[in-house]
């Protein structure tokens, strides 16, 4: 009489591997059946084209990183296809549609920000009446976005117009301004 444990073990192992084999076979047939359906019904993706695109991209990356290849016209100091060159900061001059002043294109956005009273510094500003803003304008100083009430670091900055902080302090007592 053989040891029952050994026999059980080997027959268990055999059964287990049989079950495993059947499950595996079944899974394989599942995949085969699905793929067969997809292929026969013409539902498969156009893998050839997709692979072609991948290949082209891989080639492109290799070519671009290869230093021996002439590099793409980099930077702003080139001649464009129309044969033009341009300065680093755009120097076209036009009129601001908010205040009417002549502004250089490359500095238009920072100007407009203050001009419109937008931007981070301006947003911290407490609401002021539009007459006060007009008054400041009529006094000939550039429109300032500085808020006398702000405690931001803007007090350390100098506006584009060159008005120093000292000067803007004068306006902080707005209610006492004369018109």
């Amino acid at each position: 009489m053989s040891a029952p444990n050994e026999d059980n073990f080997s027959s268990h192992a055999q059964l287990s591997s049989e079950f495993f084999g059947e499950i595996l076979d079944s899974l394989i047939v599942d995949v085969a059946s699905e793929c067969h359906r997809i292929a026969r019904l013409g539902l498969d993706r156009n893998l050839d084209e997709e692979e072609e695109e991948l290949r082209l991209s891989a080639e492109a990356r290799a070519r671009v990183t290869d230093p021996s290849n002439s590099s793409e016209a980099n930077g702003k100091y080139v001649v464009d296809i129309f044969g033009q060159t341009h300065p680093a900061v755009a120097n076209e001059i036009f009129e601001c549609m908010n205040c009417g002043r002549s502004i250089m294109a490359g500095r238009f956005a920072p100007h407009l920000e203050k001009c419109m009273g937008k931007g981070r510094k301006a947003r911290l500003k407490a609401t002021r009446s539009s007459t006060a803003a007009q008054t400041r304008h009529s006094r000939g100083s550039p429109i300032s976005g500085y808020s006398p009430y702000s405690n931001s670091t803007s007090t350390n900055r100098i506006s584009n117009g060159g008005v120093s902080h000292v000067a803007s302090d004068e306006y902080s007592n707005g209610t006492q301004e004369e018109h």
Partner: protein
């Protein structure tokens, strides 16, 4: 597999565009493949037809059908057993009947039940069952004798099998029966989901649009000559060719950290339907302002108020930019007025600092919509694009399905979308093992070869695969199932119900973490194709795949309609971002006349394909192929 594609991708470029067929005054039949249309490879057309009819069936199945008449699979209809979100199997009434081969008493992986007599055979004995019972026909072995026992069904997979051909075969009626069983199982007693917005009809109509190129008649020609003046453009020698440079190429001045705006504007200026709209004078800024200028003679002394009374209309400002950029003047243009208008519209974004180009894009489309709405009705169906040109061009419809994992009940919602934001894969480093990219608990499409594990880098199609794959919602997000009447774990799956004319893919490269209070930029390379077929991401494909790719019309589309044509897209613009999160630079690459141009603020240069393929895409623009015209190298004067 499509062997025909091998020949087509050699003349890959020429092939995908629509040159001659548009010049011929030919109708544009989308539903019937026309071998005369030479933009489609003839082999493609023929093989598609062949595929659909000849490959899926076999002579024995056809004969079986002719013998058994109208509903040959009727005795199977009650035998389908469907697990929720699972596949169908075939079982008879005693539920725990052990299924095994009649001949050898084994139960190997494939068991086939004869459709006629229900005898079960394994694949080894299936053909003998068919031939043994092959009726009273001639026994010369080559003729197809009575085939009533030739057709069997795979009991575990509900697939038809021809025992004579020893191959799986396909039949519409059978598939229909399976699908009905599957849908019945998941929607017992449920409220039918919302029907897709009634654009389904429109979609069908749109597919069958007859295209005729427009040429002015004599009266119109006279009008054109009288009311307009020709634009001057100097032909510029580019390398060896004497060709003229494309119209509409013009640098945009950087007004101070405004490259985010310039890059998006360049893409929009060359978005074909948008460009056509504005160049056709569909939004004339003079008429629009005149119509809406309430107080032309404003007595207010304040000059600025007077200026502001002009109606704020981003479409008008865009119209001005189109006019300027297509005027033939090649000196860089300053889009100052546009910036001013946009800052009035989007005051929360109005500041002198670098902005996100994608945020800007959404903002201006919203601005155009707001001012241009034809109808002030609140419930504007943005998906249909009837409200404004922005939605007409960019708006698509996404479908979201939430499926109960317990009973299969599916809740469906539709939402319009103006673009698709895609996540890059979390972390590729170290994932050398080829783990399955999807955790499909049920029948799904064959595993994508575009998963990054196989290629080593991320791909746009891989991102779209992930966007549309079923996602298991966490156990903390249990969805209330109307059928089960309790909260159940569920799966969510996105798909595209309606493709927009122009698809904008936004790659989420900027990560903002509120927890860590930091943001970072993901520089990882993303591959994107020059031609993109969106068919696998359509709701019809996703739905079909969910039901085992059965031959069954889903969502109203006809199975033999050649809808692939309307799902093919061509790349025309790429916005790239280089540099760091807060100190970076946007550049747009444009594809005009199959040539790529780099638009870097005021500098327009010509670049090679490779530069574009290797670039770090941030916003990638595709237009429907049938709208993508390949202009000839020489500008043809009409």
């Amino acid at each position: 597999m499509s062997s025909s594609a091998k020949s087509s991708h050699e003349n890959h470029r020429n092939h995908l565009l629509l040159p001659k067929s548009l010049l011929r005054n030919q109708s544009f039949p989308v539903s019937h493949p026309n071998p005369n249309l030479d933009f489609v490879d003839k082999d493609d057309v023929i093989s598609d037809n062949f595929r659909n009819s000849d490959y899926s069936s076999c002579p024995h199945l056809l004969q079986f059908r002719s013998e058994l008449g109208n509903n040959p699979f009727r005795n199977l209809q009650d035998c389908f057993r469907v697990r929720p979100l699972g596949r169908a199997s075939v079982r008879r009434e005693p539920p725990h009947e052990i299924v095994q081969c009649g001949a050898c008493k084994q139960a190997p992986p494939r068991l086939y039940a004869c459709v006629t007599c229900a005898v079960v055979s394994c694949h080894l004995h299936a053909s003998s069952h068919a031939s043994d019972l092959a009726g009273a026909g001639e026994d010369d072995g080559s003729s197809i004798a009575s085939s009533s026992h030739a057709i069997a069904v795979d009991v575990d997979r509900a697939e038809l099998f021809c025992c004579v051909c020893k191959d799986q075969v396909y039949d519409r009626d059978f598939d229909a029966a399976v699908v009905l069983a599957q849908t019945a199982a998941s929607t017992i007693g449920s409220i039918p989901g919302p029907s897709p917005p009634h654009h389904a009809e429109n979609m069908r109509k749109r597919r069958r649009v007859e295209y005729k190129p427009w040429t002015p008649d004599l009266k119109e020609q006279a009008l054109i000559v009288e009311k307009s003046s020709p634009l001057q453009s100097q032909p510029i020698r580019l390398g060896e060719s004497d060709s003229e440079l494309p119209w509409g190429l013009r640098g945009l001045n950087n007004l101070g950290n405004t490259c985010f705006m310039n890059s998006v504007l360049q893409a929009l200026l060359h978005t074909p339907p948008l460009r056509n709209y504005f160049l056709s004078d569909k939004h004339n800024r003079y008429f629009c302002q005149k119509k809406n200028n309430v107080n032309p003679s404003n007595r207010d002394t304040n000059n600025t108020t007077n200026k502001k009374s002009a109606k704020l209309c981003l479409a008008c400002d865009l119209d001005a930019i189109f006019s300027a950029v297509f005027s033939g003047d090649r000196t860089p243009y300053s889009p100052a007025k546009f910036l001013y208008s946009w800052w009035q519209h989007a005051s929360n974004l109005a500041s002198y600092e670098q902005q996100d180009a994608h945020e800007f894009f959404i903002s201006i489309l919203d601005g155009i919509h707001e001012k241009m709405q034809n109808d002030k009705r609140k419930l504007q169906n943005q998906g249909s694009g009837d409200c404004c040109i922005a939605h007409r061009v960019f708006s698509g419809i996404l479908r979201s399905d939430v499926m109960c994992t317990a009973c299969g009940f599916t809740s469906t919602t539709y939402d319009p979308c103006i673009d698709i934001s895609l996540d890059l894969e979390p972390n590729l480093a170290g994932s050398s093992k080829r783990t399955s990219a999807k955790s499909n608990p049920y029948i799904g499409e064959a595993d994508s070869t575009n998963s990054s594990e196989s290629t080593g880098f991320s791909t746009l199609m891989g991102c779209l695969d992930r966007f549309t794959r079923p996602e298991r919602l966490g156990s903390d997000q249990k969805f209330f199932c109307q059928q089960c009447q309790v909260r159940q774990e569920s799966l969510k799956q996105m798909s595209i119900r309606k493709l927009p004319l122009v698809s904008c893919f936004h790659i989420k490269r900027f990560e903002h973490s509120h927890i860590k209070k930091m943001s970072r930029k993901i520089d990882r390379y993303l591959q994107f194709p020059f031609s993109l077929d969106m068919a696998p991401y359509l709701s019809s494909s996703i739905l079909r795949s969910r039901f085992g790719n059965r031959l069954f019309p889903f969502d109203g589309d006809e199975p033999d309609a050649k809808s692939e044509l309307s799902s093919e897209f061509e790349l025309f613009a790429v916005i790239t971002h280089t540099g760091k999160l807060d100190a970076g630079h946007y550049v747009t690459y444009l594809r005009l006349s199959n040539q790529w141009y780099k638009c870097d603020d005021a500098w327009i240069t010509q670049v090679n394909d490779n530069i574009v393929r290797a670039a770090q895409g941030y916003m990638i623009f595709y237009v429907q192929k049938m709208l993508y015209y390949r202009a000839s190298e020489r500008q043809v004067a009409s």
